[in-house]
């Protein structure tokens, strides 16, 4: 019948295929022959759905790297939702353990998921190659403006006297990051974290709603999320988990150390590669991510997303993670929630 349609179709198919295979064309290797790795397009995985913190970090990173022409191959961001990142790790640590063209973004849940008993991930950061830390945030202890707690020490004294009289809320389930952060100071002062009353909500937004509506006495949440409420005079921040005081709205807020609790908690975000990564590929990403952290495009992204840049190279990052894992294991064990 209409033969020409077949031709058009064939052409379309071929076109589609060549367009879709993107930078994976055979010429790519020639262009980069001087450098070797990377010879193919690289994928950055955000182990969550579109729109979350990991996803935003991965996309911001891909955008800045491309804009600054720091990488000659094309970069794509992929979402792999499921089990708070556990689904992705199970696949990555087995099937992609030697694939240097797939990196991923993560934060403290990478450690916590591996340590906790329920919803455990059999794979942790030791099954990856930590490449760099890119950003950080801190936790904040927040009460309503009219709360009787003016200082963290008041709250801790009450918790010590009777751990069950204060309703502590957070944005995620027990055994997760918000929970660990919430009980950290009381735990450090010798209160049994199992006795504390922790009410989990779906996300930081709902936790703040519970606080404002009088359904929680204190919440632990990301410091970057509360400055607006502080400015509006709705809440008071008792302490932040940073080593030094923060800038901006939270300048007047003491750190945990100043409040008499010798600890800190950093919500880091970083980039990881597969466990079996060649020295060449590792060195490539170390250099590239270092240049990224100093680039103007990355500055822009940090500003747009209200993140604080905090670059650590692979070795420092690895050392930092070892320390973090120990701290988290101790506290989860104490709570009876460690594996």
């Amino acid at each position: 019948m209409k033969k020409w349609t077949g031709w058009i179709l064939g052409g379309l198919l071929a076109l589609g295929m060549s367009a879709c295979s993107g930078g994976g064309d055979p010429f790519a290797s020639e262009k980069n022959s001087t450098e070797g790795y990377p010879e193919k397009p690289v994928t950055i995985v955000a182990p969550s759905g579109a729109g979350g913190g990991w996803d935003l970090t991965a996309r911001a990173m891909a955008k800045a790297l491309t804009e600054e022409k720091l990488i000659k191959q094309s970069l794509t961001v992929e979402n792999k939702p499921g089990g708070g990142g556990v689904v992705f790790m199970a696949e990555y640590a087995t099937q992609d353990k030697a694939n240097p063209y797939k990196l991923f973004v993560n934060s403290p849940p990478l450690l916590i998921n591996h340590l906790k008993k329920e919803g455990n991930s059999p794979y942790g950061y030791k099954d990856t190659t930590p490449l760099a830390q890119l950003t950080r945030d801190y936790g904040a202890f927040v009460v309503k403006k009219d709360s009787k707690y003016k200082k963290l020490s008041d709250l801790l004294a009450d918790l010590k006297a009777n751990p069950r009289q204060v309703r502590i809320a957070g944005g995620s389930a027990p055994g997760s990051m918000d929970h660990v952060m919430a009980v950290l100071p009381a735990y450090k002062l010798g209160v049994d974290p199992k006795k504390l009353k922790y009410i989990p909500y779906d996300g930081g937004g709902e936790a703040i709603a519970a606080l404002l509506g009088g359904n929680a006495d204190v919440i632990a949440t990301d410091a970057s999320a509360v400055s607006e409420y502080v400015k509006a005079g709705k809440v008071r921040v008792l302490a932040v988990t940073s080593p030094k005081r923060l800038d901006g709205e939270l300048k007047a807020v003491p750190t945990l150390k100043e409040s008499g609790v010798d600890t800190e908690f950093i919500i880091w975000r970083g980039v990881f590669g597969p466990k079996e990564m060649s020295a060449e590929a590792k060195a490539y990403w170390e250099n590239t991510l270092k240049s990224l952290s100093k680039s103007g495009a990355w500055e822009e992204e940090l500003k747009a997303n209200r993140w604080e840049g905090d670059y650590k190279n692979s070795a420092d990052f690895q050392r930092f993670l070892t320390g973090q894992e120990k701290q988290l294991r101790d506290i989860l064990t104490e709570m009876g929630m460690a594996k």
């Binding site: 729109g51 992929e78 939702p81 499921g82 919803g119 519970a210 404002l212 500003k303």
Partner: protein
């Protein structure tokens, strides 16, 4: 009034030609995305954030923020509307809030009244959009404070009331409807329990840690179930599902729909302001209310136009109501508004108590654009109704494999997981078998949505009260809902006992 003055300024922002264009493009893309089952408003908006960012690049920061949020809000409304289109035409809810629309909408389409169903959905959505806009302008502040008073105890009681409403979804057998509800609630317990952090019924499989995805189950039960039904019952040959009827609504249609639209709009708006409850609850409540108030409840489930008009108005009004906690408190009430909030933050606009003071340009521009978006939805969709309705005239030879392919694409695109596709097919088979034997499917879906909310809120409340159950009756709002639920269950029986003829879904 100060707000009106601001609103006028907002309209000036929204009426700038490029913002009109953005609203139009947003509504258009949103409708297209919403038509895909599986990809609801939430993933639609999330996926289009980068596109909107590149479209608004090169503008000043405030203008770029206003324009892109107008675009994204357009996508939100468009997707809400697009979801109902497939519910009506293909029995395929695009998102959770259009599940109930499928109940009567699809029956209408089978009777050749697809055009009427789509038209009333468009009109209802428009009216609801206007109602929620007025509500937003006048009541934003008091309502945001009311929404905050909703603690775990209040949510629990509201959900219990919602669950009682399930009885309204029964077919001939109440027992079967209850079995389906409990089955849905049980499916909802799979996954890591949010309150204790304990993994339940996951068999240590990471894919189950976050539970069964609602949309996967709904698309499977409804869309694939119907496809399998068509093939097995021989509809795949040449029996036309029914011609696209006249698109003009009769006076009878309008008369029957007017009150449901009004009730649905109000109900939807108020429920929408509660974080977490949202559009799904609103549309369910509206459907149940209409059935309860109707003089002929037996028409429901068989193509009653009220069953489309009410819920469609309610879910659209709810998306307007959901803007209240987002804009005034910075608290996103749903997944979609959470993503809108993320987008605002990207433009350095922090939604929250200070939004209206610090960024009036963005806030009022957005509110005004909601109105414009709704007008555009109507303008765009009313003529398109005919085109859309043609879809069901596609020969089954092509239509059936395409519906399967679209369902698989929609689910995979959001979940990126083969496991969800297996769940999809299993749910399809289950949906076919169950529906065939008069086991209603909507209660499964409702149970799956409400189950975790009921359970978590109950346990949150009990954690706070140290296990004291009296917390549910001590709080006035909670007590009110519990009493309403009690009345809901007892009144029909009492009336029956007094000899009044009331239709009760006992075994016929």
């Amino acid at each position: 009034m100060e707000s009106l003055e601001y609103l006028m300024k907002g309209f000036l922002v929204a009426f700038q030609w490029h913002n009109l264009l953005f609203a139009f493009v947003g509504v258009l893309i949103g409708t297209a995305v919403g038509v895909l089952p599986g990809i609801g408003p939430m993933s639609g908006v999330a996926l289009l954030i980068p596109v909107s960012a590149s479209l608004t690049a090169g503008m000043g920061p405030e203008e770029a923020a206003a324009s892109s949020i107008i675009l994204l809000a357009g996508i939100y409304y468009g997707a809400m509307y697009g979801g109902s289109t497939t519910s009506i035409l293909l029995n395929t809810p695009g998102e959770s809030s259009s599940v109930v629309t499928a109940l009567d909408g699809y029956q209408m389409a089978r009777q050749g009244r697809a055009g009427n169903a789509l038209a009333i959905a468009a009109i209802g959505s428009f009216v609801a959009g206007v109602v929620s806009l007025i509500g937003l302008v006048l009541l934003a502040q008091p309502l945001s404070e009311m929404a905050l008073m909703f603690g775990p105890a209040e949510y629990f009681s509201l959900m219990v009331l919602g669950l009682c409403a399930v009885s309204g979804l029964a077919g001939r057998s109440m027992t079967k409807a209850l079995i389906m509800t409990v089955f849905g609630l049980l499916l909802g317990t799979i996954g890591v329990d949010n309150v204790s952090g304990v993994a339940r019924f996951t068999f240590d499989q990471p894919v189950l840690y976050q539970g069964l995805e609602f949309l996967t189950v709904a698309v499977g039960l409804f869309a694939l179930g119907e496809v399998f039904n068509t093939v097995l019952e021989g509809g795949g040959e040449n029996e036309k599902a029914g011609k696209v009827g006249k698109v003009t609504l009769s006076r009878q249609d309008l008369k029957q729909s007017a009150a449901p639209i009004a009730r649905g709009s109000l109900l939807g708006f108020f429920i929408g302001t509660l974080p977490g409850a949202g559009a799904t609850m609103a549309s369910f409540f509206s459907y149940i209310t209409e059935k309860k108030w109707s003089k002929q409840p037996e028409r429901f489930g068989k193509g009653a136009i009220e069953g489309v008009a009410g819920p469609e108005s309610a879910n659209n009004a709810a998306s307007g109501g959901a803007m209240i906690p987002l804009l005034t408190l910075g608290i996103p009430g749903s997944g979609t508004t959470a993503i809108l909030m993320g987008a605002l933050i990207m433009y350095n606009v922090q939604p929250g108590p200070l939004l209206f003071e610090e960024h009036p340009y963005v806030a009022w521009g957005l509110i005004a654009s909601m109105f414009i978006g709704n007008v555009m939805l109507l303008v765009l969709n009313y003529p398109l109704v005919k085109v859309f309705a043609r879809i069901i005239d596609t020969p089954p030879k092509y239509l059936i494999p395409l519906i399967i392919a679209i369902s698989i694409f929609g689910v995979y695109a959001v979940q990126v997981n083969l496991f969800d596709l297996i769940v999809l097919v299993v749910c399809g088979l289950l949906g076919y078998i169950l529906a065939r034997h008069d086991y209603p499917l909507a209660p499964v879906v409702l149970g799956l949505v409400l189950g975790p909310m009921i359970e978590y809120n109950m346990r949150r409340a009990l954690t706070a009260s140290d296990g004291d159950f009296s917390i549910f009756v001590e709080k006035p709002i909670s007590l009110f809902f519990l009493l309403a639920a009690l009345l809901w269950l007892t009144v029909p029986w009492l009336m029956k006992a007094r000899g009044k003829r009331v239709v009760i879904n006992e075994e016929a």
